[in-house]
């Protein structure tokens, strides 16, 4: 019988190194957001990193140097550590700020180009992202390739002087307001049963001839995601991002970045904060029991999320830890909405503070997508099970 003598933490979420500079930056961002809100620059939005796009707001963040925060200064970045960026994103999310326009570019596309792009690509694109003037969409999912991403059918064929791109991408958030999409496409046939071979990534200018973007209304009736058609789009030679045939490894790295942030659970903080305001003077044991549990769950998740940032800061590749936080984070978002409803029960909607009803309704309608986008709960659990040696 096993003695459990090997027992120990399977996953490490190290303590964030105390950093007064990060806290100073946090305070600066918070002050800016308060001023913006007071001046009518925005009202707090649920699910703000997906559905609240405001290019002018993004440009104001860029002007303050808060985009591309971790990239080298020579590419327009801030040259700061990941925990600084984590502090900034926490503040933006907690405020429900309209950050959707630049979110993908700042979170994953820019860093991806930094890692895999050519010098020319970096110099051309990164400073524009950091200025809040260049937005990106994700080009992974297709009508027949969702969780099974290696099934992508979009094709890039070699032609004189470049590539010809044919196919379609779907669920591409913000493609209608974005400048580029990083497209995963097949450049050569699978090697036997290895479908992960023969894939490559391309930087596609969404203004190029042959690209058409059409919006898809989500359940709430809002267009934030799209279907993007590539009808024989001529791509220049330097549209290739990274290595030809190296697309699978690259897209895996990109997904790790996509999953690593606090947006997977922190967007319900605005809702929880407004709920506590609504309960002021009406707090009782039933309500406190519900809200206290949510506070505890969110605090633990936050610690894990900061642990992921700390791991990044140490130069580790915490993709499994990030998958774990995403899986638990999106599960928490559902529990948080359920809990908030329970805590607010008995308090007529007419007596709710301004904005709470909108926040709750928007959160309810966003819930089904939270545990789908960026990799479903089932895919996340598969990643964790692989680390446990089960697959």
């Amino acid at each position: 019988m096993l003695d459990a003598s090997d027992a120990g933490a399977r996953f490490r979420f190290p303590a964030p190194v105390p950093d007064p500079e990060a806290e100073a930056l946090r305070a600066e961002v918070r002050g800016f957001l308060e001023a913006e809100r007071a001046a009518g620059g925005f009202t707090p939005r649920a699910d703000c990193w997906v559905s609240a796009a405001d290019p002018a707001f993004s440009a104001r963040l860029g002007a303050r140097g808060w985009l591309g925060l971790t990239w080298p200064t020579e590419y327009g970045g801030g040259g700061r550590p990941p925990l600084h960026r984590h502090a900034v994103t926490e503040e933006l999310l907690a405020a429900g700020a309209p950050v959707a326009a630049h979110w993908v570019a700042d979170r994953q596309s820019g860093g991806h180009i930094l890692k895999f792009g050519t010098e020319a690509q970096k110099r051309e694109i990164l400073p524009r992202i950091a200025a809040g003037a260049c937005f990106f969409a994700i080009g992974m999912s297709e009508p027949q390739a969702g969780s099974d991403l290696a099934a992508v059918a979009t094709k890039a064929e070699r032609v004189e002087g470049g590539w010809r791109l044919t196919g379609r991408k779907i669920w591409s958030t913000g493609a209608h307001i974005s400048h580029y999409m990083i497209v995963l496409a097949r450049t050569s046939p699978p090697e036997g049963r290895n479908r992960q071979a023969g894939l490559s990534q391309f930087l596609v200018d969404l203004k190029a001839p042959g690209v058409s973007v059409s919006g898809i209304k989500d359940l709430a009736g809002v267009v934030h995601f799209n279907e993007t058609l590539f009808d024989g789009v001529e791509l220049p030679e330097d549209a290739l991002l990274g290595e030809e045939g190296g697309g699978w490894a690259q897209v895996t790295a990109e997904l790790a970045m996509e999953r690593s942030g606090p947006e997977r659970f922190l967007t319900v903080l605005a809702l929880m904060t407004a709920t506590m305001e609504a309960l002021k003077g009406r707090m009782d044991a039933r309500r406190a029991a519900v809200m206290g549990r949510l506070m505890a769950r969110m605090s633990a998740l936050r610690r894990m999320s900061r642990g992921v940032a700390q791991l990044l800061q140490e130069g580790a590749s915490p993709e499994v830890e990030a998958a774990l936080v995403k899986e638990m984070g999106t599960r928490f978002e559902k529990e948080a909405v359920a809990g908030v409803r329970e805590a607010l029960s008995g308090l007529p909607r007419e007596e709710w503070p301004a904005g709470l009803e909108t926040l709750l309704d928007a959160s309810v309608m966003a819930l089904p997508s939270n545990s789908l986008r960026g990799g479903t709960t089932e895919i996340m659990r598969g990643i964790v099970a692989r680390r446990l040696g089960m697959r």
Binding site: L266, M295, R303, R306, L324
Partner: protein, 338 residues
Amino acid sequence: MDRMVAETAARVFSGRSEDPAALWAALEETGLTAAATPEAMGGAGFGAEEVWGLMRLSGAHAAPVPFAETLLAARLLAAAGSEPPAGRMTLAAGGTIREGRVTASLKAVPWGAAAERVLLLAEGETGPVLALMEIPDAAATPAPGIGEDAAADLVFDADLPEAAAPAPNWLTPLAFRAELALARAAQMAGAMEASLELTLAHTSVREQFGRPLAKFQAIQHMLAEMAGEAAAAGAAVEAAAESAAAGGPVDWRAAAVAKIRAGEAAERVSAHAHQAHGAIGYTYEYDLRKFSRRLWRWRDEAGDETEWAVALATAADEEGTPLSEWIIGPVQGLGVNV
């Protein structure tokens, strides 16, 4: 936690979950029972992170001795300026001190039937007092309980011991409960890690339908969830222990977070562990029992999830700070911005 300390402790705990006497002797011999005792008092002088890390390890090995209680009692005694004695200790809040006499009637004190002394946080005439009481056989009546922790009801009507000292200022009843809650949360985090390991080992060798259980997606997802829950509890425990890093008390709110999170995780982890094990996990002989029974006991000790949740949300409500400040604020931050 320091790697050498962790390895030494794991070696000491290993293989001794059925032999309390041998385990205790080994713990004393290696100095681990004095881990929380300051160097000036002859101990190892470990910080809060190491101390709670050791408690976590003791949970991961289902230690059949009052190790966590002894460490915590030593920590509190040292904070009150008293030198912790050798031997098994447990601790409880309760009792009154009047004119040099201690009277107390304490229900189901863990290890009450196995420890030599109990550290009481008792109500003195001029404030709370830490009184370290010998436990004569006559004072202890075994109490029912599922925690395999030799719990006993303790009754005292005795002279105040010489070693009694006024409790440090910070040691309010809430702070005392928070310290104990964090000890339980740490032990639970360890017990959940061990449950996960047992379940992993079982599902990778047990075959049904011609393949190991671990190859079934339904089982993989259960274990992934267990791993996440155990990790969340562990992270919350670490954050709370760090809140006491500078030698002061644990931030009660961070301890509350840890206890709530560990309690919630225990529910899922033990349910999944048993489901994946099948009938063998439901036997007395199999090791999983030790972890499950402890988890089910510890989650109710020193405040269950609901009690701490009510305390947390009520405090946030009374303080009036926006909740977002509580969670991510630079100062408030539930003890996580250390």
